[in-house]
């Protein structure tokens, strides 16, 4: 695409340029101001938010020592990783099936795939709660699966909504790909698998990675579905924090929040570094 050069004459000029810049700055301020306040008050000595009484790290100490929170972090991480892996696998296959093939029932599947995105959280929460309740004996019969305790229910539920989001992201990527490369591979007598592995897969990797990150985020963010569906002893972090929030606003919650924020930032930076490494690697290979 004639990006770099065309941009120079297509760029906004004069007043509109100034307006755009100021607007963007304000929006960024809007994004980060609450976060700054949140982080600031996590160091507040007073238990009551809003009254600054001195700097302290006590709340972080509480956070680390708090068994309930630590356990729920562990639950969230396990559920997040497991459900992301499964959702990415299933979602990518679904995306490929829908974009690269034509088969009976495709339209129906397409429609069903969109439902988890538009369904209200509450509805999904209740229907899964009822479903697990009614089918528990069936599932428990499978060796190694115990729906009454542990993370099974959470994982099953999170995968259910994540498949759709992953497939949407990967499909967007697939739709934009140049199929001539794949056709060229076929012309050069590559088997379907070879063509996929060497041509399609590298090209959709950013899409798959994006989908994976999105799935992880949604899983870690989920409150409503998780709170209805969680089984004995498996309370994920957002549900635990929501419970804490409902009982009272306290700097402990701020400390938890700040830590979660720091973790997300780390994750983002990490993913950027990794994607940078991958793309420069493939750049290297191509030249």
């Amino acid at each position: 695409m004639s990006k770099g050069v065309a941009m120079s004459t297509a760029m906004p000029r004069g007043a509109s340029r100034w307006v755009l810049s100021v607007h963007s700055l304000l929006v960024f301020l809007f994004f980060y101001a609450p976060i700054a306040v949140l982080v600031l008050y996590s160091f507040n000595q007073s238990k009551i938010i809003g009254k600054w009484e001195g700097f302290t790290l006590a709340w972080y100490g509480d956070f680390i020592a708090h068994e309930g929170i630590q356990q729920s972090i562990w639950v969230s991480v396990k559920v997040g990783l497991l459900s992301t892996v499964i959702a990415v696998a299933l979602g990518t296959m679904a995306a490929l099936a829908l974009e690269r093939f034509r088969w009976w029932g495709q339209k129906t599947f397409d429609a069903v795939l969109y439902l988890p995105i538009i369904i209200p959280d509450v509805t999904m929460a209740v229907m899964l709660l009822v479903f697990f309740g009614e089918t528990a004996p069936l599932f428990n019969a499978i060796p190694g699966v115990d729906l009454t305790a542990g993370i099974e229910r959470l994982v099953f539920s999170h995968v259910a909504f994540n498949i759709s989001f992953v497939s949407v992201v990967v499909r967007a990527r697939l739709a934009n790909l140049d199929t001539t490369m794949e056709e060229a591979a076929a012309d050069l007598y590559a088997t379907r698998w070879q063509a996929f592995r060497r041509v399609t897969l590298p090209q959709i990797t950013p899409g798959v990675a994006g989908g994976a990150l999105l799935a992880m985020t949604l899983s870690l963010d989920d409150v409503v579905i998780s709170s209805f569906v969680s089984a004995v002893g498996a309370t994920p972090l957002p549900v635990f924090v929501f419970g804490m929030l409902r009982r009272g606003v306290s700097p402990l919650v701020n400390a938890v929040s700040t830590s979660m924020l720091a973790a997300s930032m780390l994750l983002v930076l990490l993913s950027l570094i990794v994607s940078r490494a991958i793309s420069s690697q493939s750049e290297g290979r191509r030249t």
Partner: protein
């Protein structure tokens, strides 16, 4: 599109048939019999938050060599939603009075076994035969308290009327500067109940007219209400967000310690709610014996006292009185005087009528 609709329809039918088939296993399942102190595995305990002293749990775990997994719920209804289908995995739950009668009606809790819970005799006569569970066959009282009004005396002055008017009346709000500083419980039965009591009716009234009047009272007060909150009413009071709050006795007490102003809690003269939370074992509890063991443990005189000393709610355990801190026993917020006790009502389940309270509150909220 039509193909898809047919698809979903077929599946709904299958789901219904499948679900329907599951229900037939109930019949007269003989419950597993337990002996005193017997345990059959680790316990899954479902309780309200901040209601149980962690030291008691630790002591129980050590004494019986089991692990207790504690999960929390913020309301009876959420607990009910989780356990009503069955197979939730929980053993011991702490339902409130009206919820106990619902659970009994739905056969979701099992009778308390006298042989497994000998300490049950410690319970005071007043709570041994409650209206929601005659003969206390299915439940054992855990803690009890009242619902009333918490006031920031620093803002209103010492001389406030002990009346629900503080929450509902426009003039009172004017006089004491309460507009926009009132919180009500986000609970249809409690809030509509308060309005009913204010009007002089029973809070278990099933009269449509009386409920309509109560709805009007709440609707009128909405403009002056800051929030509906069943969890942070005490906190909002103590941080100065509200000046009067509708809420439960023990929670207010905890927060009054944190605040800087002068506070008071009372049940208005028109009367209010006395509520009792109870221990109950689910019918499909995987480890009923351990559950009964914990029940027995908590009904022990000293343990019961430790519980009250911890969460500042009143104990229904007569034998515990000897061990409860004097300052707790003398606190009229925790243990109201007999005259007031007369004017307190239990919330009772009204069956099909129940939904009217919820709708009345939703309509009143606008």
């Amino acid at each position: 599109m039509t193909r898809w609709i047919r698809f979903v329809a077929v599946l709904s039918v299958l789901a219904v048939v499948g679900a329907g088939c599951g229900d037939d296993e109930e019949s007269a399942a003989a419950f597993k019999q337990c002996k005193a102190g017997e345990v059959d595995g680790d316990l899954a305990f479902f309780n309200w938050s901040e209601y149980m002293d962690p030291e008691l749990i630790a002591a129980f775990q050590e004494a019986h060599g089991v692990t207790v997994t504690e999960d929390f719920y913020p309301s009876n209804e959420e607990m009910f939603a989780k356990v009503e289908i069955g197979g939730s995995g929980y053993d011991l739950i702490i339902p409130s009075d009206y919820m106990v009668s619902i659970l009994i009606e739905e056969a979701m809790i099992q009778p308390v076994q006298a042989s497994a819970v000998p300490n049950k005799s410690n319970i005071a006569p007043k709570f041994a035969n409650p209206p929601y569970d005659p003969g206390a066959v299915y439940s054992a009282a855990y803690q009890w308290g009242t619902t009333g009004v918490g006031v920031d005396l620093g803002e209103t002055g010492e001389d406030v009327p002990h009346s629900w008017a503080l929450l509902f009346d426009a003039e009172t709000a004017e006089t004491y500067g309460l507009s926009g500083a009132i919180t009500l419980l986000d609970d249809p039965r409690e809030t509509m109940g308060a309005a009913l009591k204010y009007l002089g009716y029973s809070l278990n009234s099933t009269s449509a007219d009386e409920l309509a009047e109560a709805e009007a009272v709440v609707a009128d007060a909405i403009g002056r209400v800051a929030a509906f909150d069943s969890d942070q009413y005490d906190e909002l009071l103590v941080t100065g967000e509200s000046v009067v709050g509708h809420g439960y006795s023990g929670n207010f007490l905890w927060s009054f310690e944190e605040g800087e102003s002068d506070y008071d809690y009372f049940v208005p003269d028109e009367g209010g709610t006395i509520w009792v939370d109870n221990m109950a074992v689910l019918s499909d509890a995987p480890h009923p014996c351990t559950a009964f063991a914990l029940m027995n443990f908590l009904l022990d005189a000293e343990n019961g006292a430790q519980l009250t000393n911890y969460n500042w709610y009143a104990s229904p355990n007569a034998a515990s009185e000897a061990f409860i801190d004097a300052e707790v026993l003398e606190n009229t917020i925790i243990y109201p005087d007999p005259a007031l006790m007369e004017r307190l009502e239990f919330i009772e389940d009204t069956g099909d009528y129940e939904i009217n309270f919820t709708d009345a509150l939703t309509r009143a909220r606008g």
